[in-house]
Symmetry: C2
Subunit: 220 residues, 2 copies
């Protein structure tokens, strides 16, 4: 048996129950949580209002409760509030994009520059940024590809529960920019970066596929 196999390792640890079990919802509040899932949206413009430490801690404390292979908890949550670093990330995103457009016609470059500036002004308007990382030296690093997004997803949902917006960003703020500006060691893989703050506004809900399109019973 492969020593890193998710789950297999834990057969010996079963049992040891302590809590009563019911088939019904644990509480009305737990049931209300289901409404929260639909309320989380990607937020691309923020108010400058600070996020109190107590709220930030509660959000991170929720994020680390995500499922994790063999309880390895391979995460690092890098919290950035330094305005200088935030501004530097924004500038580097713009510079890199500009460099990639050098072969385009001037009008096209101008158009992209304006769109990009507006977008980046929104992305970088939050008071806090959280870089979600996994540690390549974790116990079962091949499972970090699951554990990373799982924690980031919990983080976004927990933030929403406290009234904050987030957006799960990968390439729009390139990994190379965060590594360079924030000095992230090679050892850590970046899962995503998200702003955290009070939304400038809650956008209209995105159109979604029907549930029936996404669910299959017994066979595909």
């Amino acid at each position: 048996m492969n020593a890193t196999r998710r789950e297999c390792l834990r057969f010996a640890g079963m049992g040891g129950a302590t809590m009563a079990v019911s088939a019904a919802p644990a509480s009305a509040a737990d049931s209300d949580l289901l409404a929260l899932f639909a309320k989380r949206q990607s937020i691309r413009s923020y108010k400058p209002d600070p996020v109190p430490d107590e709220h930030l801690t509660r959000i991170l404390d929720a994020a680390r409760r995500a499922p994790t292979s063999g309880n390895q908890q391979p995460w690092k949550f890098l919290v950035i509030r330094d305005k200088v670093k935030i501004e530097r990330m924004r500038n580097r995103c713009l510079e890199r994009a500009e460099a990639s457009w050098k072969d385009l016609a001037a009008a096209e470059r101008d158009s992209r520059r304006e769109r990009m500036k507006t977008g980046m002004a929104g992305y970088f308007s939050a008071p806090v940024y959280i870089v979600v990382l996994t540690d390549s030296q974790s116990t079962y690093p091949t499972y970090n590809q699951h554990d990373g997004p799982l924690a980031a997803g919990y983080l976004c949902l927990a933030a929403r529960a406290l009234g904050y917006g987030t957006v799960y960003i990968t390439d729009a703020i390139p990994e190379a920019v965060t590594r360079e500006v924030l000095g992230i060691p090679e050892r850590y893989q970046r899962v995503c970066i998200t702003p955290l703050g009070v939304p400038e506004s809650w956008p209209d809900p995105k159109p979604k596929k029907k549930l029936e399109e996404l669910v299959a019973y017994e066979s595909l």
Copy 2:
């Protein structure tokens, strides 16, 4: 600009706000929900009680609200309740493990067989299984590696909100077994499979790292 870049595509879509924004929690219930994150645990033994369709639908409806690149929603949730298929998956897991032990000493094989049988009896005691898949023909397939675990994490949390247990399984029920028994086409990548049901019991909480070990401020 790379056409599949997450986020960049959406700069043009900003604005259009409709809902009021507050810095405080949306409601006391939302705030209470943070307690739920810590209550979700991996469950490895289930009661036979069925999961009503209404609950299953609510759980799947929550799962599909996960963050998704460019709103692509690349998911398929394959729901299995057929006892014949469930039993066949269990048997195939045991057969494959047995085959991989052929070079071991007899005593070691016997010991592993017993542990594996107990473990598999637990994993396959639930009334429902959900295979979380992503579609390689989605709009931005390179981002499925994020979208897949994100939806599976939402699913586990939503199930917990309604009093059900899950466990995010990858290799303990090999992808090859689910493909073979359930006839999953190559087009779909398996993220994980989870049982869904009322836990035989809620286990003692797992020991966790301190939050301070996982969080870094401004630099690593």
